[in-house]
């Protein structure tokens, strides 16, 4: 239950007044049997054979459910990252201990996230965790980790994750920063940007769009339309109609993939000539290009990580691409860096104790290697768990690939004119 959307989620009463006593006894037997069955079945799950050495870290991702596409990519990247760490010799200060990645599928479901996070922490004595992509799931995992005093790294952009916690660390850009980057990118296209902002009305859309609204004036951008919409609509025409009527010359759409596809195609159908900035989320994954094809070329977005950022990123991308056939997308690449940050912390802590690892993460200061694979190339956390160097990178679809184009320091390809 509590599915981030879905689910999919989703007799006669004769005899109800017969002797309740008889029913009670029989049904107690069943209940007890059921309970016993559950316990023994659970006890039968494989006991991890642990040598003294491997360090357990947890990865919580929605491998099934509505967020499955992204979750599966994340898991592939997580496994790759751990392999890379281990191939490089593991954690040398712990005698070459290997990282052992425990993956759990949070099924795009909040209750499952809650119980799985806890299960991983208690059963596997995790030293650190990373996950969960979706804001709501990450918030729950972060609450559990906070109470269990285990450090959690995440690329999730929700600003709530930096409030009142000491075990959650966010190496990448926050929702408010995405907003600022988007606003600045609109100035690339026009001197007097008049922006129509449409956003899906759940956590992802509202937090990003709030950031847009708050900072627009300061960036010299006029917002002419600010419209939440219900994700999963059947027809983007009314929405696009509104955009057209607003006289905007740029469209910011904060959406998940399905809606983005419809919006982009409808804009083309309507013949609306407008620059689209698709933000992050569903916009910066390979599936987007697969779904809209050439229409995507020239569209801009923002990401907290991109595969052309530096040589290391390109290296990882090449390997991932061989493995999965697609380029390494934002969230997945980010979590590779996070794995290396955890490894770095383990090295310095020389211990698997989560408290010591947490302190080591809090004092991290890297500017090279895979752990520093982020825009700006540096990681150092402030007291609220934010990376003080984090900022997003503006990207653009160019010939089926995502190129970093903004800001100047992070641009790896020229802006394609549309």
């Amino acid at each position: 239950m509590g599915k981030i959307t879905e689910a999919h989620i989703t007799g006669r009463a004769g005899g109800s007044l017969t002797s309740a006593m008889r029913q009670r006894r029989r049904d107690f037997l069943v209940k007890a049997a059921g309970g016993a069955l559950a316990t023994t079945a659970l006890g039968a799950f494989p006991i991890l054979s642990r040598a003294a050495e491997p360090v357990n870290i947890g990865g919580l991702y929605p491998v099934t459910g509505s967020l499955a596409q992204i979750g599966q990519g994340c898991v592939a990247a997580a496994k790759l990252a751990v392999q890379m760490v281990n191939d490089a010799g593991g954690i040398k200060s712990l005698g070459g201990a290997k990282l052992n990645l425990i993956i759990s599928d949070v099924q795009s479901d909040t209750t499952v996230t809650r119980t799985e996070t806890e299960r991983l922490i208690t059963d596997y004595k995790l030293s650190a965790i990373h996950g969960c992509f979706a804001s709501a799931l990450t918030l729950i995992a972060s609450e559990v980790a906070e109470r269990a005093k285990v450090p959690l790294l995440t690329g999730s952009s929700s600003d709530q994750l930096n409030k009142g916690r000491s075990y959650t660390f966010t190496p990448f850009a926050r929702a408010s920063q995405f907003a600022q980057a988007q606003l600045r990118m609109s100035r690339l296209v026009s001197d007097k940007p008049k922006v129509a902002v449409i956003f899906e009305n759940t956590a992802f859309g509202t937090s990003t769009s709030n950031g847009l609204r708050e900072q627009a004036a300061g960036e010299g951008v006029e917002i002419v339309l600010f419209e939440p919409y219900s994700a999963g609509f059947t027809d983007a025409s009314p929405l696009v109609n509104k955009v057209k009527a607003s006289g905007a010359n740029a469209l910011f759409s904060v959406s998940y993939l399905n809606d983005l596809i419809l919006i982009v195609r409808t804009v083309k159908q309507v013949g609306l000539n407008i620059a689209i900035n698709g933000g992050s989320g569903g916009f910066v994954i390979p599936d987007f290009y697969k779904s809209v094809g050439k229409l995507a070329d020239g569209l801009q977005g923002v990401a907290h990580w991109n595969h052309d950022m530096d040589a290391n990123a390109q290296k990882v991308n090449a390997v991932y691409q061989k493995l999965t056939g697609e380029f390494l997308f934002e969230y997945a690449g980010g979590l590779v860096a996070q794995t290396f940050m955890i490894a770095d912390a383990l090295e310095r802590a020389a211990s698997t104790d989560p408290q010591k690892v947490r302190d080591a993460i809090a004092s991290i200061n890297v500017s090279s290697g895979y752990a520093a694979m982020c825009p700006g190339g540096k990681v150092q956390f402030g007291p609220d768990g934010k990376n003080i160097y984090a900022h997003p990178v503006g990207v653009q679809w160019q010939n089926g690939d995502l190129a970093s184009v903004f800001p100047k320091e992070d641009a790896r390809a020229p802006l394609m004119k549309t």
Partner: protein
């Protein structure tokens, strides 16, 4: 005879209670405890649903509305006014009860599947409202509850067992209420309405009033579950609070277990949750959609083969095992 029950059955019940109370002390595995908590909680929600959907055959698929109202009420009271969720839980129940009045007035005009659709719509509308109005309840982003560590008076505990006992208590409450209603005049009225509402009215049952009353009770209980849930997962947002799957599971466990019976929802929950946990263990992430495929097959099998629910199967099986002397007239 004790309390009108045969001594032997009270003894069995006593044993069951002792085992249930001792369970978290014996079983230390936190995952197992979480499963038990889930089972207890969803059995409770199923029992609450069953009062209306099972006995009176008012098949609501929108009980998530009350779940969500309970969850939001206690969270609002806690975060905005510092009021303990224990009180907030009760307040949430009252809010849900009050909400059930206009909703019932509207939806009871329809029968059968169209009643169900209308109830789905009400839960959806509530979700949309809570998504849209950011100012009064955090909107789409939701909120976490403040981290108070171990604060029993604020319904937050370090010990997993505490949540288990609360869930157990809720389930016991639900079962007790169902038991009392079953035996009262209201119980008879409910079944009469469930069998044939028009006939019931013809013999003088005030159907609208009975339906209204049971809806109030059912929604009150469901709201309690909502509060517990927020305290358990530390987070709430409109999508979680008013999620359709809550409504579905409430109905599902009752139907599979035994609609309109005291223990039906419990049996259904044990079966479905255990299946779910096992499937996750064995197949886990390798197969998308397997779990629900199995659920739906179980549901279809039950409906085609034993529409009254599996409790009938068990009752028959036990009858064969324990042959009783026929009652003397």
């Amino acid at each position: 005879m004790i309390l009108g029950l045969r001594t032997r059955n009270v003894a069995w019940l006593g044993v069951a209670v002792v085992i249930l109370l001792a369970l978290p002390l014996v079983v230390r595995n936190s995952f197992a405890i979480n499963i038990f908590i889930r089972i207890l909680l969803f059995a409770f929600i199923g029992v609450a649903w069953n009062l209306m959907g099972g006995y009176a055959k008012q098949l609501s698929l929108g009980h998530a509305a009350y779940f969500g109202l309970g969850a939001y009420t206690s969270t609002l009271l806690q975060i905005d006014f510092g009021i303990s969720p224990w009180i907030g839980m009760f307040a949430g129940g009252v809010v849900a009860m009050l909400a059930s009045l206009p909703i019932g007035a509207l939806c009871f005009r329809l029968r059968g599947p169209y009643f169900a659709i209308a109830t789905i719509a009400t839960a959806q509308v509530l979700m949309l409202i809570f998504l849209k109005f950011r100012d009064f309840a955090w909107g789409a982003e939701g909120t976490t509850i403040p981290n108070l560590g171990n604060a029993p008076l604020m319904m937050q505990f370090d010990a997993k067992a505490a949540y288990y006992y609360i869930a157990l208590g809720l389930l016991a409450l639900g079962l007790a209420i169902t038991y009392l209603i079953e035996r009262s005049w209201m119980g008879y009225y409910l079944v009469a309405i469930g069998e044939d509402e028009d006939a019931a009215e013809a013999i003088g049952v005030n159907a609208p009033r009975v339906k209204r009353d049971i809806y109030m009770i059912s929604s009150f209980l469901t709201a309690l579950a909502g509060t517990f849930y927020v305290q358990f997962i530390y987070f709430i947002d409109p999508n979680i609070a008013f999620n359709f799957s809550v409504s579905i599971e409430a109905a599902l466990v009752s139907i599979v277990g035994g609609i309109g019976t005291l223990w039906g929802p419990v049996i259904g929950t044990v079966l479905l949750e255990t299946t779910s946990a096992l499937l996750q263990r064995w197949l886990g992430s390798s197969f998308v959609g397997v779990q629900l495929t199995v659920y739906s097959l179980i549901l279809m099998a039950v409906i085609l083969w034993r529409p009254t629910g599996l409790i009938g199967v068990l009752t028959d099986a036990c009858a064969r095992i324990t042959r009783r002397a026929p009652a003397r007239v």
